[in-house]
Structure formats: C-alpha cells, structure tokens
C-alpha cells in the first residue's frame, strides 16, 4: 500500500510545476500509469481524493491513462503485449526482451481554470 506515498509525491510534483498558477485553479490532473507499475489505480484515486479534499487542490479531479505492458524481442524483433513483468517473448520464447511500456508512473499534464472559469 504505497499509493498514499505516491499520491503525496504527486501533489509535490504538481506544486513544483504550477508555473505561477494557483493550486485552487487546478481542475484536472492526468497521469500515465503502466499496468506493470505496481500501482492499484483505484487505491491511488482514493488516496488522491482523500488528500485533495481538505487542501487547496480540492477542485482537481484525477484522470488515469493505463498503458499496456509491451515488450520488444531482441531475438526475433517482434513487439508484443505481454502479461505484466513476464519477460518472455510470446512469439519465439526468447528471454532477450526489452520492456517498451507498462512500468510508467508519470504526471502528463494538469488543466488550470482561466480567470472567467474560476469558482468564486
């Protein structure tokens, strides 16, 4: 259960990237989470909502894009979807594979309200 710690670090990261915008004006937060990143997205959402409810980020909603786990086989050259963290090429059974996606845990962007959209 490290989703609370991840949610806390996410809020720190947003604060560091506001570019002068107010925390109260953040409306949405878009994440990219790989299905092999070891994150329970429902739990992350719960932790995020619990943290923002009593903070200046209370108008922000969380959007999560889940990325599939895909591997590139260096033996046969194929790119395949795979069960998360199984480093085996389904086409030729080689273990010489490289993870292309599915372990990401990234903040993509935030949406901030302009002056006329602000909640008074």
């Amino acid at each position: 259960m490290h989703e609370m710690s991840v949610a806390q670090q996410l809020l720190h990261l947003i604060r560091r990237n506001l570019n002068g915008a107010n925390e109260e004006d953040v409306r949405s937060v878009r994440l990219r989470i790989g299905i092999g990143a070891g994150i329970v997205t429902e739990s992350l959402r719960f932790c995020f909502e619990a943290l923002v409810a009593s903070s200046s980020f209370r108008h922000a909603s969380l959007l999560i894009e889940e990325t599939p786990f895909t591997i590139h086989c260096q033996a046969c050259g194929s790119v395949s979807p795979s069960e998360p963290l199984i480093l085996l090429c389904p086409a030729c059974n080689s273990h010489r594979v490289q993870v292309l996606s599915g372990t990401e845990m990234e903040l993509i962007e935030i949406e901030v309200a302009d002056v006329e959209e602000k909640i008074i």
């Binding site: 991840v6 990237n17 962007e109 901030v112």
Partner: protein, 218 residues
C-alpha cells in the same frame, strides 16, 4: 482552461535523492545492496551470517528498515558492525530520503559494503530506488514455489535471488526447481543462491560471490 504539460515521473523527487545517494556511494567507493523480501523470509539472519562470514575480509555497515522497533539493528550491532535503524512508523517501504538521513550516522570512509535491509514487503519497495547498486530478493522455501509468479515486481527488478531456509525443504510443500524456474521466467538474469541460516549451507558461496562482485563489479 489552460493545459500545463508536465511529463515527469511521479517519483521524480525520490529518484533525485536516490541519485544523490548513488553519487555519495561512488565517492566513497561503496558497494550497496538493497535487500528485499516478505516479512520472515530471513533477511536479518542472512545479514548476520554474511557479517560472520566476511569478518576480517571486508568492512560492512547496515541500515535496517522496520515499521517499528530497533530489534534488527541491535541484532546486527551485536556482531560489531555499525548499524542504523530506520523506523518507518507504518510506512511499508524505505524511501531514498530516509536512507539519505540515515547515512549521516555512518562513517562511510571506513566501510566497503553497505547493506540496506528494506521493510519486509514483497510489493512496495520495488518502486523506490534508494541509490543501491543492486537489489537482492530473499525468498524462503516456506513461502511456496509460486511466489515469484504472484509477486513479479520484486523479481523483475532484482539482480540476485537468495532462496533461504533450504534445510526445511523436506517438511514443506515447495519444489525448489520450480521456484527457481518461476523466478527465472520473470527475470532470466537473476543470480540464484540457495542458503540456510540454520545449517549455514550456501552462505560461503553467496559471500564469495559478494566479495568478488564488490572488488570486480561486472
């Protein structure tokens, strides 16, 4: 509505501090292991056996991570090795900044190998880089041979697998070959050792590899 594009890792702060730890380790020519496992697999016992085996050959220090108490640091300190306890007070894993703070209590210039024993947890510690050279995952035969398949993260990101408590194999439902195959199916590059801290079998082989690896890293 305005969009601010960020495109950064959520755990960027942890990775930054891990990078600072790594630079500090390099400056002191220190080989650092992050030992992970579920609770009760024998991490501290392996540390004790490793310390005994390497006594007089190389200088070691230990950072212990636990949710509560300094029992483990006391166990290790009894063997005459510098040991610092991190108590996470509920936290299920160590983070780079906790290790960074703990390093202030260790005289790094006097040691060659630093072993960080993570909080017993086969899930969360996989996500947090501490600045280590490698992760060592410990699994005991009593946990069953299917655990690598059920908890793949830790095996995927580790360099070494220690299969511990092999003295109990006659009494438990665990096929060690299957365990090994399951772990290697997730990460074929794992270096596997079989150990028992009760009989001491396998400890010497593991320690020889560790010593060799410390002096001549691959």
């Amino acid at each position: 509505m305005s969009v601010i594009t960020i495109e950064r890792k959520i755990l960027e702060k942890n990775d930054e501090v891990a990078g600072r730890n790594r630079a500090l380790f390099a400056e002191h020519d220190l080989f650092v292991l992050n030992v992970v496992s579920s609770p009760g697999s024998g991490k501290t016992s392996i540390l004790e056996r490793t310390i005994e085996q390497l006594r007089g050959k190389v200088s070691l220090a230990v950072i212990e991570g636990d949710v509560q108490t300094d029992i483990d640091a006391q166990r290790v300190a009894r063997l005459g090795v510098p040991a610092v306890q991190i108590v996470t007070r509920g936290g299920c894993h160590l983070e780079a900044n906790l290790v960074h703070e703990a390093l202030k209590n260790i005289e790094l210039q006097n040691i060659r190998i630093l072993i960080i024993e993570n909080v017993g947890n086969l899930v969360c510690p996989a996500n947090y880089d501490l600045g280590e050279a490698m992760k060592v995952v410990v699994i005991s035969t009593t946990e069953g041979d299917d655990k690598p398949l059920k908890y793949p993260n830790m095996f995927c990101f580790a360099s070494v697998l220690l299969i511990n408590k092999i003295d109990l194999l006659p009494y438990v439902n665990c096929n060690i070959e299957q365990l090994r195959l399951n772990a290697l199916s997730i990460n074929p590059n794992l270096r596997v050792f079989e150990t028992s801290c009760t009989t001491g079998v396998g400890i010497q082989t593991w320690c020889e590899w560790l010593l060799q690896h410390t002096t001549h890293p691959e």
